[in-house]
């Protein structure tokens, strides 16, 4: 019911409207004990705080003009050459996703990339699809890149730096796979050369927000340092958001209300409630049903099986509930298995343009949108990138686990 509501969203109401009563219901009916629900809430609390801080940090970077400046830099550097623009978009979208999370890439970067392509008279298709694909597949690197990672990071017991170290190779390999496929898939669009910027447009380039970039860099270093010192890196995220927020407030570039909206309290509440509902559902049958399907251990075939199962489940019920369901099942096998779950739930959603088959089918059933036939092109692109990306990423993870020790 919670998942159905989250896809359907009647009258545009927030997902929390269904999720919070559902969480109350599973507690009231005894599907989960109040003690277990409290434990789950205590586990999810720091994750949700971390998420809120990263959401605010990304919004403040946008307020400081980071993405505008990024668009101008892309336009200048690409000089009307579509293949060069694609390479630059891959770099920018991958780094944005890794550091400021996939939300930043989808919500803040995608329109900027589209506008940049339009300014350069370059066909926007490859570049826009690069943003949508990389928002998923390039969200492997850091715990902050994706909410799924934050949840897995908390469950894995890994330090921030070690998580990044193990995921660096899979991250690079998946981005590389996507790039090779994109270059071929969109060859016709990339052959149509654009026009370099006219001089008058180039001169009005916005300044790079050096302060915001410096705060983000220090925050990143803070993640590694706090985590190594045994302190929750969410504090570093909070500090970064506080520094940028205080500056923006003092310069009247934002308001307390805008900052609170950026943290998205209904979404945070939704995540907390979903966590409790999913725990109740897994504790009452789903966990037992899925347990035999989760391969034991961290051998290469086991990691492949775990990632494939995670990708399939992400497509059936969306990746956020999928990761909540699978984490407790994969955790006994260790950090390697948890990271394999992440490969599946982060790369898998690219099979369809809505992030899961469930969402796509539900929307068709509900007739909210007649999907344009060319969106099957997107599915074709997903079929070319997802299975290949998954296998290569798992191989790289396996190699990293062996090189760095699982």
């Amino acid at each position: 019911m919670v998942l159905g509501w989250a896809v359907w969203r009647p009258r545009g109401w927030p997902e929390a409207v269904a999720a919070v009563p559902a969480a109350a219901l599973v507690i009231a009916t005894g599907a989960i004990s109040a003690h277990d629900a409290g434990e789950q809430a205590r586990r999810l609390g720091p994750v949700i705080g971390f998420l809120a801080a990263v959401l605010v940090l990304a919004q403040l970077c946008d307020d400081e003009g980071l993405f505008r400046a990024c668009g101008a830099w892309l336009a200048r550097t690409a000089a009307g050459r579509p293949r060069r623009l694609l390479a630059l978009v891959f770099v920018v979208a991958s780094v944005t996703t890794a550091v400021l999370s996939l939300d930043a890439t989808v919500v803040l970067l995608t329109p900027v990339v589209f506008a940049t392509a339009a300014r350069l008279e370059v066909r926007a298709r490859p570049h826009l699809y690069a943003c949508t694909h990389l928002s998923n597949s390039a969200s492997l690197l850091l715990p902050v890149s994706n909410l799924t990672n934050l949840l897995a990071f908390a469950a894995s017991g890994l330090a921030f730096g070690r998580f990044a170290g193990l995921m660096a190779l899979p991250w690079l390999a998946v981005i590389g796979t996507e790039y090779v496929v994109f270059r071929r898939f969109f060859a016709a669009d990339l052959d149509a050369a654009g026009a370099p910027l006219a001089d008058d447009r180039a001169e009005s380039a916005p300044e790079l927000p050096v302060f915001a970039l410096a705060v983000v860099a220090v925050t990143l270093a803070g993640f590694v340092i706090t985590s190594a010192a045994g302190v929750n890196p969410a504090w570093a995220a909070l500090a970064g958001a506080a520094v940028l927020g205080a500056r923006a407030l003092s310069r009247r570039r934002t308001s307390v209300t805008a900052l609170a909206r950026a943290a998205d309290p209904p979404f945070l509440l939704f995540v907390l409630s979903l966590g409790i509902v999913v725990q109740a559902v897994t504790g009452n049958g789903l966990g037992d049903a899925l347990r035999p399907l989760v391969p034991a251990g961290t051998s290469l075939p086991a990691l492949l099986g775990t990632a494939a199962l995670a990708a399939a489940l992400a497509n059936v019920i969306n990746n956020l509930p999928a990761v909540l369901v699978l984490l407790p099942l994969a955790a006994p096998a260790g950090a390697g298995a948890i990271l394999a779950v992440l490969l599946g739930v982060n790369i898998g959603p690219n099979l369809t343009y809505t992030g899961s088959l469930a969402t796509l089918l539900w929307r068709r059933v509900l007739r909210q949108h007649g999907s344009s036939p060319s969106l099957w092109e997107f599915t074709r692109l997903g079929l070319l990138t997802v299975p290949a990306g998954l296998v290569i990423a798992v191989l790289c993870l396996w190699a990293a686990l062996h090189a760095l020790g699982g």
Binding site: A6, E15, A115, A118, A188, D189, F267, T352, G355, L375
Partner: protein, 184 residues
């Protein structure tokens, strides 16, 4: 004025305006369109792009804030960009012309709008490094295959030399889709 409602282009020369290659189409119209023929500039913004951006937002499970959905923003940017491109094309043409901005699957919209045109001018959208396959990309190939009106296909920029045509396949070899010469 951008005309988004009517599609009556009977007897006109329709110039398909696409990012990156529109100058060649406009120049071909200036050089080759019958004198006095009415001219129509047509741009089609792919509807799939706002929908893909919207889909990516749907994929962010639980973030139900419509004002943050990038889909409508991309649609708006696409509309502005189409208008600017048509303005630039009309400027280069320097002659009275009608402008049509549509949204949909570009190749299908072009065939529909230009069904009764006297001439449809299309720029190649594929590999431009040599003559021959695939100098027509998927969209131009569809239009050439399906348009019921006369179609003029032009090279954007300078066409490659005749020497760039790939050599004939070895004796006895034929592409899988073509009829076997020995059958006839």
């Amino acid at each position: 004025m951008t005309d988004t409602a009517t599609t009556d282009t009977e007897g006109t020369v329709v110039i398909w305006i696409t990012e990156g290659t529109w100058r060649a189409s406009v120049d071909a119209a200036l050089a080759l369109a019958p004198p006095g023929a009415p001219l129509t500039l047509l741009h089609v913004a792919p509807a799939e792009l706002p929908e893909a951006a919207h889909g990516a937002y749907l994929g962010l499970f639980g973030r139900g804030r419509p004002e943050r959905d990038p889909g409508p923003r991309v649609a708006e940017l696409a509309g502005v960009s189409a208008g600017e491109l048509l303005d630039a094309a009309a400027g280069r043409l320097g002659r009275p012309c009608r402008r049509i901005a549509r949204r949909g699957v570009p190749e299908r919209e072009v065939v529909t709008v230009a069904a009764d045109a006297a001439l449809l001018i299309v720029a190649r959208d594929g590999d431009r490094s040599r003559l021959g396959p695939k100098s027509l990309g998927k969209a131009a190939r569809f239009v050439v295959d399906h348009a019921p009106c006369p179609v003029l296909v032009v090279w954007p920029g300078t066409a490659p030399a005749v020497g760039t045509i790939p050599p004939p396949p070895p004796h006895g070899h034929h592409p899988p889709d073509s009829p076997d010469p020995h059958d006839t």
